[in-house]
Symmetry: C2
DNA sequence: ACTATAATACTTGTATACAAGTATACTCGT
DNA sequence: ACGAGTATACTTGTATACAAGTATTATAGT
């Protein structure tokens, strides 16, 4: 109905106790970021409600959420899809760099034993995810890793920023991981190395290592951008074929 | 009905083409930040709808907004007011410092003539607001000043952060300005001096001056925190008297 | 007096209904 | 053929209705 080849892009198991509105938001987000819904498209509440077989209430809720995330622009008549270009991806990582730097400066003033413990656990979960080639789980843990760092300083407004950027980041990483999880083991080991570096930096409170790992992050992002671009290409090709 | 002595805290003229939901959000925000609605209170959609004589739809919308701003926590039964303590105010200014520093680093790479022009205009508007003792207008222009700086670099996610922090900041500054506008002319001139410094820093692209003005900002905030505290005291006294 | 259970009153989430406004398309007059 | 104006089909914003679930209170049994 929505898309013959791939009804739901967002893992349903992550939506166990989510409301209809959240589900729609997650699904729409994935469809926008993956390029399945092209930038510039105008979405109508009624059409979406019909498409997803729900009422306008949850649709409105979802659109508000996506609007907060800068994925759509709520206009007088319809919601215009903004989408995620390379520029936006760079910008979202600007923000992550910004807040993670801030968080690090706070972290080094406190006892980091607890957070290091948590991060190590997540790190090991990521290894298991790799072992069983579970791209979705890996993406989930990857995002959780950074979330754990950010939330550890109990800064309500930094947490707020994270909450607003997380969904887009999560969807983006999810798509990217699905794309190259099975082939590019080199990249994965590089990502794991970098996460190890993060833990080291926090554990030793060493600013130099932190800067190094943040920089490596940028390289990872570049890879992810390429992946997303590939993903969007593939999806649009699939769509073309569907039309035929 | 809402409050015998002061029906609306948020300037109605700023809500000319706002929806009911936005109005409710603005009003509730002011009531929470001013301390009229105490932290820990549980708000119910039905009660709010009855109180404001509107349906639950705009109330729900407003609560979602306030939840995004960390002023309330949406729980299973009711929305719990978090409020704005000194800690949160410090944190919101952490964020502003963070993003304004980031913006400055971007700004110095571009031509700043246009933004300097805009800032100068706003600066003059602020002077007029002082001249006519219009605290609300002054607060509006003050917020607009920073918004202009932040939006000037066209960074969608930095703008997003601004959009999410702006309402709280605006309400906070509004209350603070109303509190001491008539007495403390010294503070006002200090604020104006600081804004002049901001313009100088951007105009000359001088990092030293920028840091100086950002630091002065902190002093201003300290004053504002005192004002808010005073304001909350006064309002709660007024409430006590009302009860008698 | 106290506990367990049942009834009740409240909560949110979703669906539907309605009103006001806007863009599109069509018709009529020239 | 073409422009003005109207009709129509859409849009959102708000109100209301309903359903499912939760906390509270009252009641009954011991």
């Amino acid at each position: 109905m929505l898309n013959d080849t791939n009804d739901f892009l967002y893992p349903e198991k992550w939506l166990s106790k989510a409301s209809t509105g959240e589900r729609v938001a997650c699904e729409l987000r994935m469809r926008i970021i993956s390029g399945l819904i092209e930038s510039g498209t105008t979405l109508s509440e009624n059409k979406l409600a019909a498409e997803y077989n729900v009422s306008r209430s949850p649709i409105r809720e979802a659109l508000k959420v996506l609007s907060n995330e800068n994925l759509i622009r709520l206009e007088r008549m319809g919601a215009v899809v903004v989408g995620l270009t390379e520029k936006e991806i760079e910008e979202i990582y600007d923000v992550r760099l910004l807040i993670e730097t801030f968080v690090f400066e706070r972290l080094v003033k406190n006892d980091t034993a607890q957070v290091v413990r948590e991060l190590t656990k997540i790190f090991e979960m990521m290894q298991i995810a790799i072992k069983y080639k579970d791209a979705d789980e890996f993406a989930l843990q990857d995002v959780l890793f950074h979330e754990t760092i950010i939330r550890s300083i109990n800064h309500s407004y930094i947490t707020m920023i994270w909450n607003n950027t997380k969904p887009v980041m999560e969807s983006f990483i999810l798509l990217s991981m699905r794309m190259h999880f099975n082939e590019k083991y080199d990249d994965l080991s590089r990502i794991m190395k970098n996460h190890e570096l993060y833990i080291d930096a926090i554990s030793s409170k060493n600013r130099e290592i932190m800067i190094q790992s943040l920089h490596q992050n940028f390289d990872d992002v570049q890879g992810k951008v390429d992946d997303l671009w590939m993903s969007q290409q593939m999806l649009s090709k699939a769509r073309e074929q569907e039309k035929e």
